[in-house]
Symmetry: C2
Subunit: 567 residues, 2 copies
């Protein structure tokens, strides 16, 4: 709906933007998106700063739309947006913003929801946490992780697709819903495949799903290119539109093609089809790495020549930071609520039990499941804090490169595993023998989830000029604190892990207490880092008052002169 967000979305999609159509052409175009694009392009080249400024501004579609804003002033149509939006609405055209948020939410939930079969693995308190249970768990965890990767691949393809398709109408919205429905079916086919590895039907259905998704996406592309006003303005006004179409189809269709081959093989020689499907799932990551490598070799990017446009369009394009954030938020939100779901389902004592077991004392009944509540608070604190550090991290990132996206996916995959950690620590809360083992599992999951976040940060630091806000770079004001923040959870989980090995009296209760204590450590950390920086600053002769006293620094406009150059 939002001109601004259309713009942000679009700009986010096309950092490697060619010298676009002149403003007049854009003003001639009917869509806000087009004007936004023109503005973005104008700014991308007219704006101050180093060459990548345009790219950066592009990546910060939502974040940094400021620089592109002079546009309506320039073509002096203060109220034309209303007009064009009514017009779009009337023509059935809509900015894809809200539909994409909805898709992100759906996909993130689907990717995460497959952890439930893992957590619902029946382990009676009597039964020991023996090898067989571990094997069963391992299988289901594998299913979960694979599903997560598959859905993420589908999500990435969806992102790429709607970087080309800038606006939607009713038909596209319905096609997108069909695409979503097919994607929601992937986890089922996959778990079918794992439950019956030697029966070709599972493979066959899975491949059919992938093919159906590809078909719908291809349909979307063809439809959008048939009504070019639906395309993102850069393409709508490009002379190479057919090249674009061929290119994006070339991006979309290989997967389904491989899968149709796999479906064929599944009928007489299914091992081959497993190989083919593995290719489908991992190809994107390989190509990501390849594209990144190419980008690195290419050195700092200039706005590519118009002839190169079509090739640079996809390969060198970083992820849309906005959608990465939306997808991550979805995962964190659903994980946090899967926890309370378990509580509400399992821990409301049954009236009969209370009468019989606890002589009608509800307090006693609740006290019996006290460890669950402790586990819940601990896990929620962990999920919330991991989201919080993710949030702070992406606050300092102004551009998400492909490897960062991959690391983010892996981090999210383990965040999605946190309900398992919760289940482990709460299910075994009262069995000293297994207690430590389950705590170790939790620690491992938390450690992996947080260490990948840390890896995102370090990867960003490798190209900090390109990927980070100035304040977060080496020596930047936020650098030290960001570092400490992201190192907190890996350290804490390692500490807990070692505790389980060293202290025999370490218990889940202590573990959850630790989890609950971490947020306060965060605040303490911030305080300490600020004091340290203030001390340094005192020595350096009050270089950066803003950090030491944000409140006053913010109220009077005194900080403006102290601003660093944007790059």
């Amino acid at each position: 709906m939002s001109g601004q967000l259309c713009r942000g979305r679009f700009a986010g999609g096309h950092p490697s933007r060619p010298p676009g159509p002149p403003p007049t052409a854009a003003a001639g175009a009917p869509s806000r998106g087009a004007r936004g694009a023109a503005a973005g392009q104008r700014n991308g080249h007219a704006g101050p700063g180093f060459p990548q400024r345009g790219i950066a501004a592009g990546m910060r579609g939502r974040t940094m739309s400021g620089p592109r804003t002079p546009e309506p002033a320039l073509d002096g149509q203060g109220d034309s947006p209303t007009g064009s939006r009514d017009e779009e609405a009337a023509g059935g055209m809509q900015c894809s913003q809200r539909m994409l948020s909805f898709s992100d939410a759906l996909l993130s939930i689907i990717a995460t929801v497959m952890i439930l079969p893992v957590t619902h693995t029946e382990i009676s308190p009597e039964q020991e946490f023996d090898r067989s249970v571990q094997k069963l768990l391992a299988t289901r965890i594998a299913v979960y992780l694979m599903t997560f990767l598959i859905v993420t691949v589908a999500w990435a393809a969806h992102t790429r697709l709607f970087q080309v398709v800038g606006k939607i109408d009713d038909t596209l919205a319905l096609l997108n819903l069909a695409c979503m429905m097919t994607i929601t079916f992937l986890p089922f086919t996959f778990s079918l495949m794992v439950t019956f590895p030697e029966v070709p039907l599972g493979i066959f259905l899975f491949c059919m799903c992938v093919i159906a998704i590809g078909a719908v996406q291809a349909l979307i592309v063809v439809y959008a290119f048939h009504f070019p006003h639906l395309l993102s303005p850069q393409i709508a006004h490009s002379a190479h539109r057919t090249l674009y179409r061929r290119h994006i189809l070339g991006v979309i269709l290989p997967g389904p093609a491989l899968c149709s081959a796999a479906a064929g093989f599944s009928l007489f020689c299914y091992p081959v089809s497993y190989l083919l499907m593995a290719a489908v799932i991992f190809l994107p990551y390989v190509s990501k790495a390849a594209g990144w490598g190419r980008a690195r070799l290419g050195g700092p990017r200039e706005p590519p020549a118009h002839s190169l446009e079509v090739f640079t369009f996809d390969l060198h394009e970083p992820l849309s930071k906005e959608r990465v954030e939306a997808f991550s938020d979805g995962v964190y939100a659903i994980v946090a609520t899967l926890l309370i779901l378990d509580i509400c389902e399992d821990n409301v004592p049954d009236a009969k039990d209370v009468k019989e077991k606890f002589q009608g004392s509800l307090v006693a009944a609740l006290g019996a499941s006290g460890p669950h509540f402790l586990a819940y608070f601990g896990s929620f604190a962990t999920v919330g804090l991991l989201w919080f550090s993710h949030h702070s991290l992406f606050l300092h990132i102004r551009k998400a490169t492909r490897p960062m996206g991959l690391l983010n996916t892996l981090s999210l995959a383990f965040v999605g595993g946190l309900p398992l950690a919760y289940q482990q620590t709460s299910a075994f809360a009262r069995q000293p023998r297994d207690e430590l083992e389950s705590v170790r599992v939790s620690c491992a999951i938390i450690f992996l989830a947080s260490i990948f976040q840390f890896a995102i940060w370090t990867t960003a630091l490798l190209q900090e000029g390109e990927t980070l806000q100035p304040s977060a770079r080496f020596g930047g004001r936020e650098h030290a604190f960001m570092f400490a923040k992201l190192a907190l959870y890996p350290c804490a989980s390692l500490l807990a892990f070692t505790c389980t090995c060293v202290l025999s009296r370490f218990s889940t209760a202590i573990f959850h207490a630790m989890q609950i204590a971490v947020p306060f450590t965060f605040l303490l950390l911030r305080l300490l880092v600020r004091l340290a920086l203030a001390g340094l600053r005192g020595l350096r002769g009050l270089a950066l008052p803003a950090q030491a006293r944000p409140a006053r620094g913010a109220v009077d406009g005194a900080r403006s002169p102290l601003l660093p150059a944007p790059c």
Copy 2:
């Protein structure tokens, strides 16, 4: 993080904006939000159009940020946003945008998740759908609906709170997470309360939760007013800041106060506490209606005098359309995925069963649960389409008034009931006696969900000048189609309902087939309405070519001259 979205969020919060601080003051302020606000204010008064234009532009923070965009050009700091954002980041200040989306996602999921105990009500296929089961279902449905209302109230308070608090820092982010955690605990305490109505403990815990939420929110307010740069610029620069604080505290604290009274009564006379809690839950809706009534009596709103500011600030302020959309998206997304969750959990056949019951034929095993898949596709189509019509509806709404928000809540409450409809129709798929009854339940749920959407539309039409885009008003180009679109589901569900009464051979299969057919009806509808309009237009002598052929109309700039005045 987004300056633009900060602006949108903030503007969304304060349509009744007083003639704010001059641009210079805003430029002096460190926050993008401040600049955005100033720009919004400038535009709200400098912008063309009728008096409510400024309000409308404000409400369309995300939608209509176009008109406010000239601002950075005016103070000519093309790249200052980067600087100020780095600065904010360095000062630990962040735009609250992403945190609010995350909160919306969490709250919407929590509100919806309580439908699961309802759907998981064990009804063995042998057992008849008798009165006892119905009674049990009714109780759980009541729990679900009440929880939904409670969480929605908490969400509304949260929205109001963060219309005052414009930016966040780490402390506020952590406080917000604490608030979220307490809210996630509400459903548990409530179901406890329902399971043991005569045991005061449930009431006591519930009240404690509400009090804790209120305490955290009060803490947020106090903290934010202690560091005024965190407040939304309008308030940060207001001379009446203390009045604002007293006012917002007065908005937040009554609920917890009542609840503490209820907690007290729960110890010796719990019926009273039920009354008090009912007051807590329904007061906001009553006050909404009151506020609306006052607004209606007040007639068309002028930007209030500075002295009135504090009173108009909360009462006359419509909901933030952006957050209403985010919350709704969350509900629709989680509902759509609860469906696939059931499929993945229940319909992956067990290897042993396949061997024994189906002689190792997986196809036969899947065929056995075929009705489930049909039900799934039908339900997903319904959820998707309801989201789609909601999306189209809010595309034409440019300002959500309180009654519209209330109707939206009710609609969402029944959307959240759709998994129950799915459960009903799939669980009883093979029992002719109960089949029709379950279909009727589904029809009722779908009818209520869609009729409330329709009610939103009609309510909007009552004040169409204020609430609707021009193109969707009486006689507008989209009006006819929007009407048809929203009438589709009520009609379809009524039709199905009557079928169940008339046709004895009507089955869930037919019902789901109908559900799956609806999307195509949508497309057909669009086609028909377009043809009809084209015919009318042909008679009126091509008044609006844009509607008839959007594609060509869009490509050449020919439509611009045909634009209607924005208002």
